[in-house]
Symmetry: C2
Subunit: 351 residues, 2 copies
DNA sequence: ATTTAGCACTCAATGCTAAAGAGTGCTAAC
DNA sequence: GTTAGCACTCTTTAGCATTGAGTGCTAAAT
């Protein structure tokens, strides 16, 4: 591995570059970080680090710039050691703002993203309720005079979804209740994907006489569910990234905006991160999608009753301020999770 | 008013500038549009037009550029005369793409915006269901075992909204039906704002024994309704505007993105247009918001059963290609309206 | 009374060169 | 192993002359 001095030099370059966005030269380091060696020595070390793939230079007479590999090393180290808390004042401020109003879940999430972007001056994102993890609590069929039958599906997390269904032949209230009971018996407590599994290979012999109706209902249940699976994604503070000097170029800006507009792609990238960790960091070319190979994404999860529901994230150039952003986003996701669970509890307990 | 030659010169400059984004000089006009006069004459005319406020020059030795006043004149004339249809092939193509799948309303609208942006190469926007115009079709209270009571509100336009309500004391099924009937009797057929009005000044003497429950219900009905009033707004093809040379400047780009992010502001601007017309055009500084005083917005409405439901629009620099865009967006809104109404009909008629 | 040709003047854009500055890599001495 | 010294590379900036498109004015032509 890298010896201690190489590490120090590397970190100095990373920190310097994060702050200045300018390639870092050997003299700068020998002056500012007192390693007690001259610039020539640093130069040699830098040359080694370049050979090892941690540094590169934009052109032959410029200073060095950290590579994605360097950031990865740095970030992994950071995640290992950095247990420090978010500044208590800032934390309280965040809590206060988020808890000030009794928002609905989606509002809370979206406002969090706004606040996160405002506080950090980075572009933020949220991926909201990912229903794969939530479970069906209740299904009810309700007759609605001339409109037919309304299927109401209520989830674990308080989200309700309805679909209207118009049967060919009238169904009696008794039959309706029979089906409701059957559906509840069958699906209650199952997660969305489990239901999707079951729908495929069930022959409904248990309620043979209502088989036809059930078969009519399947596509409706299916589409209700697929609706729940879809994930909403918003960005806040998109312009923030354009403040970084690397995005002074209009074509870079265009690339970024295109990226932000392509929700499907982003969801794909996000879903490829290990959901096990609380914090996930994708650095530059670690994602597969070439046009954004020089941006990094930090995400954290938020939970309802211990289940991961969605993600908040920050987006910036690969030289983003990982140290502070990790701290901030950790604090944020913890606060969101807490307030969210208070909200859910409130919603159930008070009348 | 302007004599014929002045008008010809002005239109020549407008058309030229729309195409080239470069200030138009007197020689260009005397050459390309055969008015049979020399550049010196044109120069005099241009000088007059400048004095009248239709033209300006970026600097003393540049050609002339049309002012917002000039665009307004041009566009008003266009709207008066331009009755030509969208190219029949393009129109069919649009129809085919939009009708290809049985989308839900929101999907249809959003995909329309995508298509609109792709076809025109301009940034597009949609403001989706504005529930102020829609009416309540049915209200139903449904008992949901341990969760309490679910209020389902179904609108005119097929949109369904539900809220859960947990009463302090249990309510019998009979009472529930009584209230449901009362609510339906009271509110069916009313528009959202009409209900909001009624809620304030009704004393519910007609169902005196259920007064307390009703009073509990009011805030719930209120918030359900307020949810329906809110308008969704999306942009598609945001990067498209960055292709225009006037947006090569990163600060201009930032201004535009900030504008796009400020949904409330945009809704405000849109709602200030006369909803009477099919086509509305806001040119540059005609909107009050300074940072976007050099973009124009063209909007058209789409309808369900004759009621204006939302808007589609195109956004670009003030020198946007009004002629073609007006044609295209007219075709689009007509197609959307048509397909939307088919969709609604389908939803009701088929099983 | 218009219209036009001619000309001086303005201003942005382009291309060129020179100089400055920051940094590297190598070599030879410590 | 470390460092001072120096030649070399490459970008950035400023300055400057040139070009070219366009205007405004005036005096002559229609």
């Amino acid at each position: 591995m890298l010896d201690e001095r190489k590490l120090k030099v590397l970190y100095a370059i990373i920190n310097g570059y994060i702050n200045s966005a300018e390639p870092i030269g050997s003299r700068t380091i020998s002056k500012h970080c007192d390693l007690g060696v001259s610039s020539a020595t640093i130069r040699n070390e830098m040359s080694d680090l370049e050979e090892l793939g941690y540094l590169s230079k934009p052109h032959s007479s410029a200073g060095r710039v950290p590579s994605d590999k360097a950031y990865r090393l740095y970030v992994d180290e950071l995640l290992k050691w950095e247990k420090s808390q978010l500044d208590i004042n800032l934390n309280n401020q965040i809590r206060e703002i988020l808890a000030r109003e009794q928002w609905e879940i989606e509002e809370l999430i979206q406002n969090s993203a706004k606040l996160l972007s405002a506080i950090t001056s980075y572009t933020s994102l949220v991926a909201s309720p990912k229903m794969k993890a939530s479970r069906v609590k209740h299904i009810q069929l309700v007759p609605i005079d001339d409109l037919g039958i309304l299927m109401v599906m209520i989830c674990d997390t308080g989200i309700v979804k309805n679909s209207i269904y118009k049967p060919e032949e009238p169904i009696s209230l008794g039959q309706l209740n029979l089906i409701s009971n059957f559906l509840n018996h069958k699906f209650r407590g199952l997660s969305i994907d489990e239901i999707l599994m079951q729908l495929d290979n069930d022959d409904f012999n248990e309620i043979y006489e209502l088989r036809d109706i059930m078969i009519d209902l399947i596509p409706i249940i299916n589409s209700s569910i697929e609706d729940l699976v879809s994930v909403d994604l918003y960005f806040e503070g998109i312009t923030k990234i354009l403040n970084f000097p690397e995005y002074r170029d209009i074509d870079k800006a265009k690339e970024f905006i295109s990226f932000v507009e392509d929700k499907d792609l982003i969801l794909d990238i996000l879903s490829n991160t290990s959901t096990s960790n609380d914090i996930d960091i994708i650095i530059g070319s670690e994602n597969i999608y070439a046009p954004i190979k020089d941006i990094s994404i930090i995400t954290a999860t938020y939970k309802i009753r211990g289940k991961t529901i969605g993600k908040v994230g920050l987006v910036g150039p690969t030289r983003m301020d990982y140290l502070n952003l990790i701290k901030t986003i950790k604090g944020f996701s913890a606060n969101i999770t807490e307030i969210l669970n208070l909200l859910i509890k409130d919603q159930k307990d008070t009348k």
